[in-house]
Subunit: 428 residues, 2 copies
């Protein structure tokens, strides 16, 4: 019987140090060209310029009448309608004194016109006459040529995250294809003799492999479709074969097999395959035993086997790495300040990530209620959490009514009620 090596007592890195270590080794992937339909959520990899002035000519900003302001200096005044101009038309006539043209939003101004009078500020008379009962300010409700963008102007910069608005700009400048940073290819491997695969028959003594699927979904949530390699059993040859396969991807996520006991073949096998391990402990909870390594072209994360630990380590360490590979500048989940509805005990010296639900108080301020179970084995607590509260590890508790930062998880991007406080007070 072999004797376990006692683990070194040196503390692991702090979460910030671990993030800095990881991000310091990553540069964004190379660019590829994609169609507009595939560009959402990607990082732009080129500068984009306007290909024409917009609007391309002075246009009406409203439905109404194009006029010469001098004509209706002394309201009320009646003018003759000489034309009907809608968006896309080319005006046929120049406005002469005493004339106006009916005009639609976005339609080009006829020569001679300098002012738009809104439809609701006019009074239709018989046939081709209209009355302007009130004076107008010259230049009103005209959108001038080039007001939105000027031909040749840089409208988008490399590195911008492509949002729906960006897609609108790309269509505006007629870019059917665009250069974006390519997505990382991600492989996921579970590890452990106790695991039962999703497609294996039920065995009451086994533990279902959920980590592969939770990690898959966390990766999908970033817009990346990962590959599931399956489950490596505690057999060195099988493990080596799986790891060799996984190292052909840009990123390999391994769950389980990170503990410090005698049975851990993962780290030595990775080392034999040319992976340098940069750290293997981070002072965080859940998630303490977590390792990060690099080969000449792949990133490797060894995540804990506990379902919640695996997910929380992904959130704090893998997510920013994947977002940097994708060329993004905003690498971390949005966090908002929240007031604690009840205290949580934490462990001084370790950052803790506390699952909690969100609500609002009467003033509209956010309140977080920590989940009753913070067990790292209990995936249900993760499923029903809106946020991860960050307990920085300076103290041994987050106190009731204290303010903490709360990282918004997927489902918390949405809320149940609108906040158009039209009727006074929040609609909560």
């Amino acid at each position: 019987m072999k004797i376990a090596t006692e683990p070194p007592k040196t503390p692991g890195l702090s979460v910030s140090e671990a993030q800095a270590c990881i991000l310091g080794k990553i540069i964004p992937l190379d660019a590829e060209e994609v169609g507009l339909g595939e560009a959402l959520g990607r990082a732009l990899a080129e500068e984009v310029c306007a290909n024409r002035d917009l609007p391309p000519y002075d246009v009406s900003a409203m439905d109404g009448y194009a006029t010469r302001a001098a004509d209706i200096g002394e309201a009320p005044k009646t003018l003759q309608i000489i034309e009907d101009i809608k968006a896309g038309d080319t005006p046929r006539f120049s406005l002469q004194p005493g004339q106006c043209a009916r005009i639609m939003t976005g339609a080009p101004l006829p020569p001679g016109a300098d002012t738009i009078v809104r439809l609701e500020d006019t009074r239709p008379l018989e046939h081709d006459k209209v009355e302007f009962p009130i004076p107008v300010k010259p230049g009103t409700d005209i959108r001038q040529r080039g007001e939105s963008m000027r031909e040749g102007e840089v409208v988008l910069q490399p590195g911008e995250e492509i949002t729906p608005g960006t897609i609108g700009v790309l269509a505006t400048v007629k870019r059917a294809k665009v250069k974006v940073v390519r997505k990382p290819r991600v492989a996921i491997l579970s590890n452990g003799d106790e695991l039962e695969a999703l497609d294996e028959p039920f065995d009451p003594r086994k533990i279902p492999d959920s980590n592969s699927y939770a990690l898959m979904a966390q990766t999908q949530a970033l817009g990346i479709e990962p590959i599931l390699l399956g489950i490596a059993r505690d057999n060195p040859e099988e493990l080596a074969s799986f790891l060799r396969q996984g190292l052909e991807y840009d990123v390999l996520l391994i769950s389980g097999g990170t503990s410090v006991g005698v049975h851990d073949h993962v780290r030595p096998t990775l080392a034999a395959l040319g992976v340098t391990i940069h750290f293997w402990r981070v002072e965080m909870r859940p998630g303490h035993p977590v390792a990060f390594g690099t080969s000449d072209h792949a990133l490797v994360f060894c995540l804990p086997g506990n379902p919640v630990s695996s997910m929380v380590c992904f959130e704090q360490l893998v997510l920013p790495a994947l977002r940097r590979l994708m060329g993004h500048r905003r690498l971390f989940r949005r966090a908002i300040p929240v007031r604690l509805a009840k205290a949580v005990k934490t462990k001084q010296g370790r950052a803790e990530f506390v699952r909690a639900t969100l609500s609002r108080d009467a003033s509209g301020a956010y309140v977080a209620t920590p989940a009753a179970s913070q067990s790292s084995g209990n995936i249900l607590s993760m499923t029903h959490a809106d946020v991860l509260l960050v307990a920085p590890g300076r103290h041994n508790a987050l106190n009731m009514d204290e303010t903490a930062q709360a990282q918004l998880l997927e489902s918390a991007i949405w809320q149940s009620t609108p906040d158009t406080e039209l009727d006074g007070g929040f609609l909560l």
Copy 2:
């Protein structure tokens, strides 16, 4: 020449009224079965129960030694190691007095064991002996059978939004397929003679159609792949043909053609095709002329032609409708309270949605800076906005330092810096 009908002076609905009108006409779509790989972000359409106890037996929560607490009542004590148990093993022996077993996290407790002693709290001796230098509390570091879930227990409810954690739970209970609410089929149509399609040659007098693509991306951001029908010109037959095609979908989004002038064929043509229009004005800015109608099976939204107006109307009115169709309970974008870095003029009586960027002050509180241009024609202002500030229309300004609600747009789900305040103070 026809004379324009003067528009009615009745005010439109408030945003809340419009949302209530729309949501009141929607029930979630029917269910479909999908694989776990396609389930993220969907609403669950069935109850899900645990199919076994988890853990399936008492397991060790740590790497260490399984012991009989009575044996090490008076520490220090040396015990004999009789076995090595890892996750997935079946223990071969019962612990007798004076014996212990080396055990890994997740491994089953051997009969007779009642306490786990962590590896770091032990001292290895020669061969098959280990010393326990400190006393232990009976029952320590054991995860009990059924602690995470009990066989038959309901673990997920219909209507839950499927997050990565939910995918983990589904894998845990061995559900390779799951019933979810199906996605709406969405068609998008642009409307207007002035529009130049993305694949049409450059014409200096035309306006590029950007709305189809921005709406496409807004729809994709909800996990729905829409169909772009193209551009309907101001020709009644062509328009009718496009609308007939669009009404075969669950949701038809039409941009442009909602103004009240003589050239608007959209509303009468929709009426002729059996669509009842429920409202055609909402007191919001941007976005004032916006219509909502229903046929016997389709929802129709007529959105303004201005790029920003179209996007803001989608956000406030279409997005909650699509999310309800998908079976979700959280229908609206998450909004957070922010302090205004500078004042914005608004118009009393209309809700305004003000594009702004987010930053934080020294205390970590959020500050919003309204974009310089709030022109509804300027899509760049939408592209670079983090949030839409909600100005409820009760007053004619949002004042500097006032608190407003800020709806988080796509790119604001992420932030540039971590908030693991390990070193004291915010890392901003």
